[in-house]
Structures are given as structure tokens and as C-alpha cells.
Amino acid sequence: MRAGENADRNPVWVWLRQVAVMTIKEFPQLVRDRPVFAYILFIFTLDIIIAAGQSVELNNAKVIINDADQSRLSRELVYRFRAPYFDVAETNLHPDTALEWLDRGAATLLVDIPPDFSEALSRGDEVALVQMQIDTSIANVGFLAASYGSRIVGGLSQEIAADRLSTAGSVPSINNQRRVRFNSDINESWFSSISELLAVITVACIFLPSVAMVREKERGTVEQLLVSPLSPFQVMFAKVFAMMIVMLIGTVVSLFVVMQPLFDVPVRGSIALFFALTGLYAFASAGIGMLAATFARNTGQLGMLLMLIVFPIILLSGLWVQLEAMPAWLRQIMDLTPLRYFIDIAYGILLRGVNLNIIVDSVLKMTAIGVVLFGLALWRFRRQFSS
């Protein structure tokens, strides 16, 4: 008897080897399906680049300014509507034409400076009014245009006031000195590239293993697996484990080939911790897909079921929408998604440079949700195939 044979019969060893074999089987399946391979390549590179280039900031919003006053002060005001927020498209249009521009969407903002503007200012016995008309059919753009527009007018107003009051001695004022933590240059691509990375990991982890699972169910190959000496847990675990490895490789590529060199996204915390928790997150989200897979009989059903789950998760877990601004019932549902916690974890480690102590709460909750999802999926999976 050789010494190795004992080790071969060790149940733990056998179990691990079975899982390993099953895991390895998944890779050729992924790579051989070329469209799926192309998909994985796309989500971790080009897709991140697209998202990182996006901005929700007001950018060269088209303004029409009708300056009926044509004084030094009115021209000063016109001058202040400028890049990066605004771009004066036209001045002194006929009011009807100007409104038609707004109607067509050719301009967002129409500013009217009345003829007695500078006169009213120099007399100083009444407020000089500037009128703004804003296209708010796209609410977020309209809101930003309104707020930046009033800031420009407000700023000029303050300067004029300060100028006059300076002769009258000092006046108290409260000045706000702003300091931005963790992203002092307010680099939008840091936020949007990380956000997109989390989104694509979520989609891939929920979809890929569960579709693979249902495919085996549809084709009957899952029965083959189940009459083999493998436990349902091993079958499921192997699928997800393979997925997790693919996701980790993808994240490495994304972070070090795309995000760091192109957009200077920092890694301020422990990179090992980040990858460990990304792996954990891959498991937790795969649990959602696996549970859904036990409810679906074919890929069509599963595809729709997952769409129902995935899009709300991606949009409403805190990446696109601020959780605190949502209705309470919806927020409570979102508290059950692993992504909600992984957002804290990922941004925490990458941008805020936190250690495990600070995010331990999120890590525990994410793990607990993952375990419950997997447990439920396994239980249903077993029940379906034991009869």
C-alpha cells in the first residue's frame, strides 16, 4: 500500500477534489461559448470606460440671454453665464423665438434682463429683477440650471451689496469654507467607474451561474450530476466558485488595467481585504440567482424573473438613488440586498481607506444574507430532486 492511497480516501480530500473537478469543468464551458467570453471581457473593460466618462453635472447648458439694458453691469452678468456650466447660445432673440427654442430643446435657460436694470440698481430704491425661464421637462437638468443660475445672480448681487456697504463700516457675515474628504478634486469618474464595476459584478454573479444551473435542469444533465456521487451542495458550490474566480480576475483587470491607469482611481485601503470581500460578495449575489433558479423551469422564465430582481437592485441599492430619499418600505426591501452593503465596503476600502473594523457591520450583514439565500436555494434544490 502506498501512502497516498490513505489520503485519497480521506472524505474531506475526496470532497474537495470533487468540487475542484466540477469547478474546472465550468471554465471551458464559459470560454468556449464565445459570446459569453466576449461579454465578460466587455463588462470589465469597455463598459467601465464608458461609464467613467459620464457625468451628471450640468455641462455647457445652452442659455439664451436677452439683455435689454446693455449696460456695464448687465454685460457683467451675461459674462458670468459661462463654461463649464453654461454656454450662451444666442443673445437678444425675439421672445417668441426664444420660447420656441426652449420648446425644441435647443436651449435650457432663458434669461431676461429688463431695460431699467442698471438704473434700478443705481437708484437703489427698488430691487432689480432678472427673470429666468427654465425648461424643467428633464427635471434634473432643469433643477441644476435653476440652482446655478440663481447662484450667479446671487453672487453678483452680493458683490454689489458688499461694495456699497464697505463704506458704511463692517457687517457681520458667515462664510462657508468647504472641504471635501476622500475625493478632494471632486473627480466624478472615481464614483462612476466604481459604481459600474459593482453593477457589472452584480449582474454577472446573479445571471451566469443561475442560467448555467437552469440549463442543466432544462437539458437533464443535472440529473446526471445528481446520480453521480456528488451532493447538491457540491454541484451548486462548484458553479458559483468558478464564477467567483472569473469575477476576481475581471476585477483585477478592471482595477489595474482600466481604472487606475486611465482614471487614477485610488486604492487607499488593503487590496487583499478588497478582493477577499469582493469574492464574498460574488457568493452572496450568486445566492440570489441560485434561489431564483430553483423557481424557474426554463431559461425564459429565469431571465424574466432575474430582470425583475436585478434592475431594482442595481438602481435602488444606493448607486444611482440615495437610499435616504426613497420611501421607507422600499428602503427596507433594499436592506435585504447584498449590494447595499457591498457599496459601503467597496467605496470604504477603495476611496476612504477604511479597515475591517469600520465596515465589520456591513460585512456581517452581507455574509448573513448570502448564507440565508444559499441555504434556501439548497433546500429547495434538494427537495426538487429528491422526489
Binding site: 461579454y39 457681520p172 472641504r179 475625493n183 466624478e188 431594482p312 459601503d344
Partner: protein, 384 residues
């Protein structure tokens, strides 16, 4: 192309959709549920921002100042903190997104008519929220500062309140919001969601319906039969377009009746544009299905494409006017952006064909292009 044969395929396809009860239910339920969830959830407003305050002055006036933030609905006051050092951990783990620091001698200096610098520390991880929060703080600070100055001028210089206000704010802006006078967010979100949900749901139905036949092998029956490519594809498109168009109509009704968005423009034009869009979305599914062999690939590619279209380029989440470079060009090359334009115009601006014929023409071009491509790429023999 014989109509009869198209109808036979269509009938078979329709039966297949109806027979799978769960699939059938989901096909109609999915858009409605997504519309409801996003209608309630998709707000770009920022409020209840967790806030901590460091009050180093502990005077009546500094407490008054802090209170203006505490009572604001935009902030969710998490409590006073003793020092800036003690406030940093709150920012680190997200318990506070903003910290306001009021310096010592706050009251004393203001009483003496001197300027005071307060400090705000903001969490910069979520950039777009940061700007809004910064705007809120600035606005409240300006308001308090203005009141203080008015009172000072009234007491010290003996001006009337009106004169004091005029001296402090000689210039004012009067704002009118067009098309959405009360700035109701749901008015622009709900119509946009019609585009959004249709883009998400329509392509998948079609993509799976062709690839399923490839995977199960029933497609060989089609290859072997006398039916032409055009007849087969048309037969596949009809039931799927019908399902999506019904869904679209339900979404419009939900936007108007449930979420209260106004449909000011021509309903007929809108339905026409929606039909063209739905055919485009369905042929996107067709195009994907002829290029892949497995349902897994079809699902993954459909999902990522619609996600990129709808979230990055449709103009609903990220305004097209803010895009630069390649992204601005790409946005114009995808149909959802043009349909989103039509949606905003017809719902809120009361437009019709005259206002949106360019976008409509673009949609028609996209639709025809995708149909032709799908047709050309679909062969009655598999490539291998």
C-alpha cells in the same frame, strides 16, 4: 412572403408563449412591477442627508444656527460631536455625509460685526450627491447670514427692514419653471420610465424565443421546411411585438393615471412612435438571437446591452446635454435616446409629429436597419 405562413408561425409562437403559464404571467407582470418599483424609488432628489455638527462655541447664537440645519428636511441630524477629530470616524463609515464645524467666538465675532468662517466637511465618495448637499448648506448659510446682516443694519444703522434688505440684496432673480411648473420630479420620471421599462423587457422576449429553438433543436424543422426566412422571422416578431406593445400601453396608462404625469401632446403620434420603438427593441432581440447559440449568451448579452443603453445613453439617468466626446456620439446612435426625446416632448411639452419628426425618422431608420440586419444574418443553415 405569404401571409398565411407568417400567421402559422405567429400562431405557433403565440401558443408557446401562452402555454408556459409562468412565462406568460411574467411577460405581462414584469413591466408593471418594474414601473411601480422605479416610479416610487427612482428619485434624484437628495434629502435626509446624515449630518453631524461640531459646536465649539456653545453659545445661544451657534445653537440657533445649528438648529436651522437640524430642522431642515434635507438633513437628518445625527447629533453633536465634541471635536473635529471625533467627527472624522463618522465620515469614514458613512454615519455622517456632512459635518459642520462652528468655531469658537462665533457669537462674539458676529455681535461685533465681524465675519466668521465656518467649516463644512463633506463626504466626496458620491460626487453627484456631494454637489447637491453643498448647495443646500450654502443656501441655508446664505439665508441665515442675510437675516443676521439685516438685523445688524436695522439695529446699528437704523435702517428699516425693507431698506436693509434692499441694501443687502439689490439684485434678485425671478424663476419660472416651464413645462413642469411645480418641479414635480415624477412628471419627468414616469414618462421616461415607459421608455426605460420597454427597453429592458422587449428584447429579451424575442431573443430567447429564437435561441430556444436553436438550443432544443426544433429550429431544424424550420431549416428543413419550405418556409422562407422572412416568413419565419415575421411570424416570430408579430406575437412578441404585440406583447410589448400591450405592455407599453399599460405603462402609458400607469404613468398618466397612477403617477399623474400629464400627456399634453398627441396621443396618436405617441402610440405610433411607441410602436416603431417596440419593433426596434424586438428586432434588437432578434439581432442578438441570430448571433448567439445558447440561451445563456442571449440572456447575458441582452441584459448588458439594454443596461448600457438605458442607463448610460438614453438620457433618462444621465442628461445627454452633459455628455462629451464619444459618449455624446454614441447616445445619438442608440434608439432609446431618440424615443426618450419623443417621450419628454409629447408628455410635457405637448409636441407631436411636427415637433419630433426628426427623432421619429431616426427611430424608423433604426427599426428598418435592425430588421434588415437580423434578416441578413439569419441563415437557414447553421454556420458550422
Amino acid at each position: 412572403m405569404k401571409l398565411k405562413r407568417v400567421l402559422v408561425v405567429a400562431q405557433k409562437e403565440a401558443r408557446e408563449i401562452v402555454r408556459d403559464r409562468i412565462y406568460f404571467a411574467l411577460a405581462f407582470l414584469l413591466p408593471v412591477v418594474l414601473m411601480l418599483v422605479f416610479g416610487y424609488g427612482m428619485t434624484q432628489e437628495v434629502q435626509n442627508v446624515p449630518l453631524a455638527i461640531v459646536d465649539l462655541d456653545r453659545s445661544a447664537q451657534s445653537r440657533d444656527y445649528a438648529y436651522r440645519f437640524i430642522e431642515s428636511r434635507y438633513f437628518d441630524f445625527k447629533g453633536y460631536v465634541d471635536s473635529v477629530r471625533a467627527a472624522e470616524p463618522l465620515l469614514l463609515d458613512g454615519d455622517a455625509r456632512a459635518v459642520i464645524v462652528l468655531p469658537e467666538h462665533f457669537q462674539e465675532r458676529l455681535g461685533a460685526g465681524l465675519p466668521v468662517d465656518i467649516q463644512t466637511l463633506l463626504d466626496g465618495t458620491f460626487t453627484y450627491r456631494l454637489r447637491t448637499v453643498d448647495g443646500y448648506i450654502e443656501a441655508i448659510n446664505q439665508a441665515v447670514s442675510g437675516e443676521l446682516q439685516t438685523r445688524y443694519l436695522v439695529e446699528q444703522a437704523g435702517l428699516t427692514v425693507e431698506r436693509a434688505q434692499l441694501a443687502l440684496q439689490p439684485l434678485r432673480v425671478e424663476t419660472r419653471y416651464l413645462y413642469n411648473q411645480e418641479l414635480r420630479e415624477i412628471w419627468s420620471i414616469a414618462p421616461g420610465l415607459v421608455m426605460f421599462v420597454l427597453t429592458l423587457t422587449s428584447p429579451l422576449l424575442m431573443a430567447l424565443s429564437v435561441v430556444r429553438e436553436k438550443e432544443t433543436g426544433t429550429i431544424y424543422n424550420v431549416y428543413a421546411s419550405t418556409i422562407t426566412r422572412a416568413e419565419y422571422l415575421a411570424g416570430k416578431l408579430v406575437p412578441n411585438v404585440t406583447v410589448s406593445f400591450i405592455n407599453g400601453s399599460v405603462l402609458v396608462l400607469m404613468a398618466v393615471w397612477y403617477f399623474g404625469a400629464p400627456l399634453k401632446g398627441s396621443v396618436l403620434f405617441f402610440l405610433g412612435a411607441m410602436f416603431v420603438f417596440v419593433v426596434w427593441a424586438t428586432s434588437l432581440g432578434l439581432l442578438i438571437s441570430v448571433m448567439v447559440r445558447t440561451q445563456m449568451a442571449a440572456t447575458m448579452i441582452t441584459v448588458i446591452l439594454v443596461m448600457v443603453f438605458v442607463m448610460q445613453f438614453s438620457g433618462l439617468m444621465i442628461p445627454v446635454s452633459s455628455m462629451t466626446g464619444a459618449n455624446y456620439v454614441i447616445a445619438h446612435l442608440v434608439a432609446p435616446m431618440h424615443f426618450n426625446d419623443i417621450v419628454t416632448h409629447t408628455f410635457l411639452k405637448g409636441g407631436g409629429f411636427v415637433a419630433s419628426w426628426r427623432e421619429f425618422a431616426a427611430l424608423v431608420v433604426f427599426m428598418i436597419g435592425f430588421l434588415v440586419f437580423g434578416y441578413l444574418l439569419f441563415h437557414k443553415r447553421s454556420a458550422t
